[in-house]
């Protein structure tokens, strides 16, 4: 088994921008992308703020070369995956074994929703079949793999909000086991009526822009987007001759096994994921310079994650923040988007701000960072992604 896995390319699209440069600019200016719903026709339009990508499907299609009738999940995925692909100059690396490991939770549900109403009225012939061709999560992945010309290995992971964190470390292990040399890994999710309504039934949505890790937090804002990183073996990196952003030095996946949707009060799954990631990376808790929190803003997640952090790091806490205060909760894409943020944090010494934080959580002896900081000493970043079904994953990115 080979040793190190490096990040040679990154790509991202979310409510705060299309592409790395736009995104960095928004982060630096404390400019969140949370606003009214415009792309989904739902009765909750006036009430629920979301982190929408500021492009219509027509615009996204124009940028990707995919048809306008394509699922938005695939369109977003294509934009971010292509940016990462180009950033890592993969068109020069055809002689290597390249794989695509993506993740999403909704698949082509945005189109399936359009199909379902006419289908219910007339099952034999109602609804356009082309709207359900890409319903499956894996189908969305293949649209992008085919467009990129990647076929040595393709798969899709779906573990709710930890999906793309899991796809990233599955990709890294494929390289370590020498099955592939390069893996484009990450995830995507688009806003759909299905998820908006689904989360609404759980009563965990905030009717205002969310305030993660605030004592008076009210819930989460849904978001959409895609984030991918290009993982490379040492050999491939040497041949590419490019400076890498960082390495993926640690990763872990644990299950909370407490409840279908709620996290355990003592954050056991989160605690195990973080602890084992550190162990895997051969790092001490004092080595972590910044934690990108899962930080959705729900009453339950933040106290559970916060408690787990307290159990692990007390009394010396690294700086930390939830970037979901900028992008909203992008579900299956969150691990991938936040991996891109971690890579940028290491390259530019950034600590991201946790927006709209006014009152520290009483139960916790620490508080997230409120300001955008640059040129800091950021050698190791811990990124958390915790999902429904108790799926908890933590990734550690380190300087090279």
């Amino acid at each position: 088994m080979s040793e190190n896995v490096y990040i040679a390319g990154i790509g991202v699209i979310s409510a705060i921008g299309s592409g790395v440069n736009d995104t960095l600019e928004s982060l630096e200016k404390h400019q969140a992308g949370i606003g009214a719903i415009t792309t989904v026709d739902t009765i909750h339009k006036e009430r629920l703020p979301v982190g929408e990508v500021k492009h219509s499907n027509a615009e996204l299609a124009g940028l990707t070369g995919l048809p306008e009738s394509m699922s938005r999940t695939a369109l977003l995925s294509m934009i971010a995956a292509k940016e990462a692909y180009d950033d890592a100059r993969l068109n020069e690396m055809a002689r290597f074994r390249i794989g695509f490991v993506s993740a999403n939770t909704v698949g082509g549900m945005d189109k399936t929703e359009d199909f379902f109403s006419p289908f219910l009225s007339n099952p034999a012939s109602g609804g356009r079949l082309r709207n359900v061709v890409h319903h499956e999560c894996g189908s969305v992945t293949e649209v992008v793999a085919d467009q990129l010309g990647v076929k040595d290995f393709v798969t899709t992971i779906s573990t709710a909000c930890s999906s793309s964190a899991n796809s990233i470390f599955f990709g890294a292990r494929l390289i370590k086991h020498e099955k592939l040399d390069i893996v484009i890994a990450g995830g995507t999710d688009a806003l759909t009526k299905f998820t908006i309504n689904g989360f609404n039934t759980l009563q965990i949505l905030d009717e205002q822009p969310c305030t993660p890790f605030d004592e008076n937090r009210r819930g989460l804002n849904l978001g959409e987007g895609a984030g991918y990183i290009v993982l490379m073996s040492e050999r491939a990196v040497r041949e590419l001759g490019k400076d890498c952003y960082c390495s993926l030095s640690g990763y872990s996946n644990a299950n909370d096994a407490h409840h279908q949707t709620a996290s355990s009060p003592n954050g056991q799954g989160s605690y195990l994921a973080m602890k084992n990631a550190l162990k895997q990376a051969g790092l001490q808790i004092s080595d972590i310079d910044y934690i990108n929190l899962h930080g959705t803003g729900t009453a339950n997640n933040d106290i559970s994650e916060g408690t787990a952090i307290q159990r692990l790091f007390d009394p010396n806490y690294p700086r930390m923040s939830s970037t979901k205060s900028f992008t909203g909760h992008t579900l299956g894409a969150s691990g991938g988007i936040e991996a891109v943020f971690a890579a940028l944090a290491i390259r530019y010494g950034i600590v991201y701000p946790n927006l709209r934080l006014t009152t520290r959580m009483e139960a916790l002896p620490f508080t997230p960072e409120k300001n955008f900081l640059k040129n800091q000493q950021i050698k190791h970043v811990l990124s958390n992604s915790f999902g429904f079904g108790g799926n908890c994953s933590s990734l550690i990115f380190s300087t090279v």
Binding site: T201, L202, Q203, H259, Q260, T261, A262
Partner: protein, 81 residues
Amino acid sequence: MADLKKQIIAQLNLQHVTPEEITNDQPLFVEGLGLDSIDALELIVLLQQEYNIKLNNAEDGPKVFSSVRSMAEYITANRQA
């Protein structure tokens, strides 16, 4: 309350329980029937669907749903035609 019990059983898919087995005053949550937070959300929908009552403050939930009797009393007090 007998109807209410049948509705609760149907809404929460409590296949192993008959209406007769649910007593009027037994706790519904944690002990007794052992319901959880998702069941609470389901009961809120039941109130709306069957009785046209919107539970505006979710924090009232534990009190309203503490037993079949407390649910029935809430419904009688807040029922809209």
